[in-house]
Symmetry: C2
Subunit: 204 residues, 2 copies
């Protein structure tokens, strides 16, 4: 790895931490120059503009997410154990950063601001939803989950539980957040498991 590449990665690591705490809008050439003690002109030479710096930060964080969460989960046995490995990986990932998953922050930050940043965070979040659904589907094929279970619905609820974890842990400072998240996944997986009964239709 060249000296320039090393510097670039160190800067993007710092940018990822900053985005985790104050949002991606807080990642600018100016603030990053202060945080890394590099010159603004040096950072401009590396990244060109604030917008491209923010996009590079998301791509860098996505690569770290692949290394920390996806690769270890996909290396393990498929089906239910892999779903659980994804969940555990995500909890670890959220705790890796000072302000938790930066894609949670960036998602809310840019959801009403059309542009390349919004497109990138939406792409990354959609990709993660699809991965959850695909891993769940491998559990149907493996006979762990019911044939009639719906992988996209599972991914929708799973995303919600991870967002609720972030909300309870980060905003509400709830010490039970981790326990409640695991318990919610236990219930969700138990309901999907082969041999379990499908949910009773609405009797209200």
């Amino acid at each position: 790895m060249s000296k320039g590449e090393e510097t670039r990665l160190a800067v993007l690591d710092q940018a990822t931490r900053t985005a985790s705490q104050v949002g991606l809008s807080g990642v600018t050439i100016g603030t990053l120059a202060e945080q890394t003690q590099m010159s603004k002109s040096g950072l401009f030479a590396h990244f060109g503009s604030k917008e491209s710096l923010q996009l590079e930060t998301m791509r860098h964080a996505r690569q770290r997410f692949i290394d920390i969460v996806l690769r270890p989960a996909l290396a393990g046995p498929r089906g239910e154990p892999r779903v659980r490995a994804l969940v555990e990986g995500w909890l670890r990932w959220d705790d890796t950063m000072p302000g938790g998953c930066l894609f949670v922050a960036a998602g809310v930050e840019f959801d009403d601001s059309p542009g390349p940043q919004r497109d990138e965070v939406a792409r990354i979040q959609r990709e993660f939803s699809e991965t959850i659904a695909r891993v769940f589907r491998s559990g149907i094929t493996a006979g762990h989950f019911r044939e009639d279970a719906d992988p996209e619905q599972f991914a929708f609820v799973a995303k919600g539980l991870l967002l609720s974890y972030h909300h309870h842990r980060r905003l509400l400072g709830d010490p039970t957040a981790e326990h409640r998240t695991r318990r919610a996944f236990d219930d969700l997986l138990a309901a999907a498991r082969a041999g379990s009964r499908p949910p009773t239709p609405d009797s209200a």
Copy 2:
């Protein structure tokens, strides 16, 4: 209502919409002066400072939330119908505003920024969680839900489903978000209903 009070409410309505789209940090005396065509000095006279303007905006939005979501739900029959009325009310509430629930945005915006704004949004979010748990508990008392159901766990998962709705509808533009949210609540309520089996313990 005095002319001054009328003006104040109109300004806070605009501030609520702005906070919903660009976040509470985007609500400043300056931006609001532009949006309402009022003078900065007039707004200072009403609100004093950016911080107190942002706090007033949250209190105003909380009052609207009570009117739009809580009061109608609490006026209806208790137990499961009231849980459902809360969910439907929240979906309506999220759609009332141009950028969805401003407390979702403010929660992520301030979760790493200690101060009065963070305290206020955390207080409002905690209060809503407690309301969900209390309404669910009334469903245990009414015999709709199992005796061993856990109201705080229900509130944790319910919050996640609402956050997932916001995420899928606002960021991912997913047209199935509303349908998936209702279906997830149907499943969650079916699993909690009196006469249903408690979740099978982990067989993995």
